[in-house]
């Protein structure tokens, strides 16, 4: 009996320091596992998702996963196609699904069915609002920072203040909604931005034509509008083109989140003096690493877990401060583009 007690005590002593180390230890990936993984963007035909796909492929090569990555996208016209893709992936018994949620909580039942079957659910770019049945969300940037970056760009373009409107993606895009909320919060609380007055919030559904028409409608509706802020890569291009085509660039400027390759012409001609974005290739890369390591059992989706994501270095899983429930891996940071650096970024 005494011996057992002693052994137990000894084991406990041994376990303590090693347990302490485990919290600080950095999980690393075991390469070469054959894992079936699906990368599901919001919809097909958007350049930023193709960049994320490239990043994920790079990670797949590094991790030597012999199973091909499936990049499956619904057409833009059928957002609930995301449900079909998740359901079919569940039937196939894949190991991990990486989702950029475009339909908010409508995705939840399909995600629950997948998660119940043991499939790892990693969201990226756009999270599941409730965080239910999601292992972790790979956030591109801190959502509050997105609000600040937009407010700062607005102030840079309108140093004396003025009226601006927001042209967003779809009403249920969780990421855009969180950014806009952060912007609203900042405008309300920080006197620095009190000169900026938001007059409207409209949705172009991430369709070029609808976004184009919405931008023109904003100008008609608010004759003294000075700035359109579009936190979506499709909306910002459509708005900039609309202002350019209608020769309104002197009056109404465009800003928001855009891809340098798509925005360079409008930044150089002054229609969109400043815009921001993060690196989507890196986002795809980091997402693949996180999903692979979760599916391979290299790490658990728990608060405080640290892991090494290849060339991008160390990351920590934390509580997601932007949601009531859910875990987050924060990528960051932002790059702000203007005339001085946009051309270099397209090379």
């Amino acid at each position: 009996m005494r011996k057992i007690l002693l052994t137990t005590a000894a084991l406990a002593l041994l376990a303590l320091p090693s347990g302490g180390f485990a919290a600080d230890a950095v999980a690393t990936a075991t390469p070469g596992k054959a894992l079936k993984m699906v990368l599901l963007p919001k919809f097909s035909g958007n350049a930023v998702f193709d960049l994320a796909h490239n990043g994920a492929l790079e990670a797949q090569k590094e991790l030597k996963n012999p199973t091909d990555l499936q990049f499956l996208a619904p057409p833009a016209s059928s957002p609930t196609g995301q449900i079909d893709i998740i359901t079919n992936a569940t039937t196939q018994g894949v190991n991990a699904i990486m989702i950029s949620d475009n339909i908010g909580e409508q995705l939840a039942p399909a995600v629950k069915a997948a998660h119940d079957k043991g499939i790892k659910i990693v969201t990226w770019d756009s999270q599941i609002p409730s965080g239910a049945n999601e292992d972790v969300f790979v956030a591109q940037v801190d959502f509050n920072e997105t609000g600040k970056v937009m407010a700062d760009m607005a102030l840079k373009i309108l140093p004396n203040g003025g009226k601006f409107a927001i042209l967003s993606a779809s009403p249920d895009a969780s990421n855009q909604n969180a950014w806009i909320k952060a912007l609203h919060e900042l405008l309300k609380t920080d006197p620095k931005y009190s000169k900026l007055q938001e007059v409207d919030l409209v949705y172009g559904n991430d369709e070029s034509e609808k976004s184009h028409n919405q931008a023109l409608a904003l100008v008609d509706k608010h004759p003294d509008l000075q700035l359109i802020m579009a936190p979506t890569t499709i909306g910002i291009v459509a708005a900039a083109k609309a202002m350019q085509d209608e020769k309104l660039c002197d009056k109404v400027k465009v800003s928001g989140l855009g891809l340098p390759s798509e925005m360079v012409a409008y930044t150089m001609n002054g229609c969109a003096p400043a815009f921001a974005l993060w690196d989507f290739t890196n986002l795809g890369y980091l997402t693949y690493y996180a999903a692979y390591m979760l599916a391979a059992g290299d790490m658990k989706a728990e608060e405080g877990i640290k892991f090494k994501a290849g060339r991008m270095g160390e990351y920590t899983i934390t509580k997601d401060p932007t949601r009531q429930h859910g875990l987050r891996i924060l990528m960051g940071p932002f790059s702000v583009y203007d005339k001085s650096n946009v051309e270099a970024a397209t090379k």
């Binding site: 919809f43 097909s44 499936q70 499956l72 996208a73 619904p74 057409p75 016209s77 059928s78 957002p79 609930t80 196609g81 449900i83 079909d84 893709i85 359901t87 079919n88 039937t91 196939q92 018994g93 339909i103 908010g104 909580e105 409508q106 939840a108 039942p109 779809s170 009403p171 249920d172 949705y203 559904n205």
Partner: protein, 321 residues
């Protein structure tokens, strides 16, 4: 009808197509034959195939209803808005069904009593009813319904079958009996074949048309509510564009767009063809635009093949004569 001529009919062609597709699905993917998958196959399109039943009646009667997807949206938005305002869900559901019937009543009255073409009337409905829905819920998603409601679209009810699938099967049998075994069916066919003749033979054509559109609206509202139960939340873009998929199913089933001909067996087969094709392509990781293109091509063929066959047949006859 002999076995051979039956095979040469449109339904025969669909049956062959279905066997080929199912054969491909079975051999190409190991996941097809699971019970879960076969349930999902129906479940992922269940709302569309429920509406395809009333759409079959409408098109055979020589009309069309383009507003069905917007009525789905309207009904779910009515339900969501009332529920959000604190109305008990059963009451909100009843109001939603009533809003669908009302939309159908407006469509039917314009077509039957004002004599306007259904294409124009229901096109206006397509725009207008969704507009009302969007005004009701604005740019929000309204969710958080009681578990029993979500379960209607998500949980098995009879064996592995959900309430939606059971509802479809019941409605399919009811529609088949009505169309083939009742005087209502004869009226529907006679209206599509020759409206004047139907009128002279004592059919109350206007009344019949009005009722058809009311049922179409009511059924669309019902399907919309099932869709809301499956998704767990309601938005203003619910079911956007569904009308085209639904009409595709009916036309591929051999129902003439000019009315008067076609039957439910054909539509049933066409539904199975499209659902199996979608499911097989999905499991083979063919998604998005590629999938849409294949189904589009199928529809073009379905219009082309019978007409070409008739043309060749007539040419042949002409040569013999």
């Amino acid at each position: 009808m002999s076995a051979l001529s039956r095979l040469r009919s449109w339904e025969g062609l669909l049956l062959v197509l279905l066997i080929v597709i199912v054969g491909l699905n079975v051999t190409k993917t190991p996941y097809y034959l699971g019970v879960g998958n076969l349930v999902n196959l129906f479940q992922l399109s269940i709302e569309k195939i429920i509406i395809a039943l009333t759409m079959t009646l409408i098109i055979i009667s020589g009309e069309i209803d383009l507003s069905v997807a917007s009525v789905m949206c309207l009904a779910t938005c009515v339900m969501a808005r009332l529920f959000e305002a604190g109305v008990e869900l059963p009451l909100a559901l009843a109001a939603a069904l009533a809003s669908g019937a009302l939309a159908g009543l407006i469509n039917g009255a314009c077509v039957a009593y004002l004599g306007l073409p259904s294409l124009a009337v229901t096109l206006a409905g397509l725009i207008g009813y969704r507009g009302v829905g969007r005004i009701l819920v604005e740019d929000r998603a309204i969710g958080g319904y009681p578990a029993w409601f979500d379960a209607l679209g998500q949980q098995p009810l009879v064996g592995p079958l959900t309430f939606s699938i059971v509802a479809f099967l019941v409605l399919f049998i009811v529609t088949a009996v009505v169309l083939n075994r009742s005087f209502v069916g004869r009226i529907v066919y006679s209206m599509g074949t020759n409206l004047e003749a139907a009128r002279f033979s004592g059919v109350r054509v206007k009344w019949a048309k009005l009722l058809l559109f009311v049922f179409s609206g009511l059924n669309a509202a019902f399907a919309g509510l099932l869709y809301a139960a499956r998704l767990g939340s309601v938005r203003g873009d619910m079911a956007d564009g569904f009308e085209l998929d639904i009409i595709t199913m009916v036309l591929l089933g051999g129902v003439s767009i000019f009315g008067g001909s076609g039957n439910l067996a054909g539509v049933g087969l066409s539904i199975l063809v499209i659902l199996n094709l979608r499911n097989g392509m999905g499991l083979a990781n063919i998604t998005g635009n590629a999938q849409t293109s294949v189904i589009g091509a199928l529809l073009i063929l379905s219009v082309l093949v019978p007409n070409l066959a008739r043309l060749i047949h007539n040419q042949w006859k002409g040569r013999e004569a």
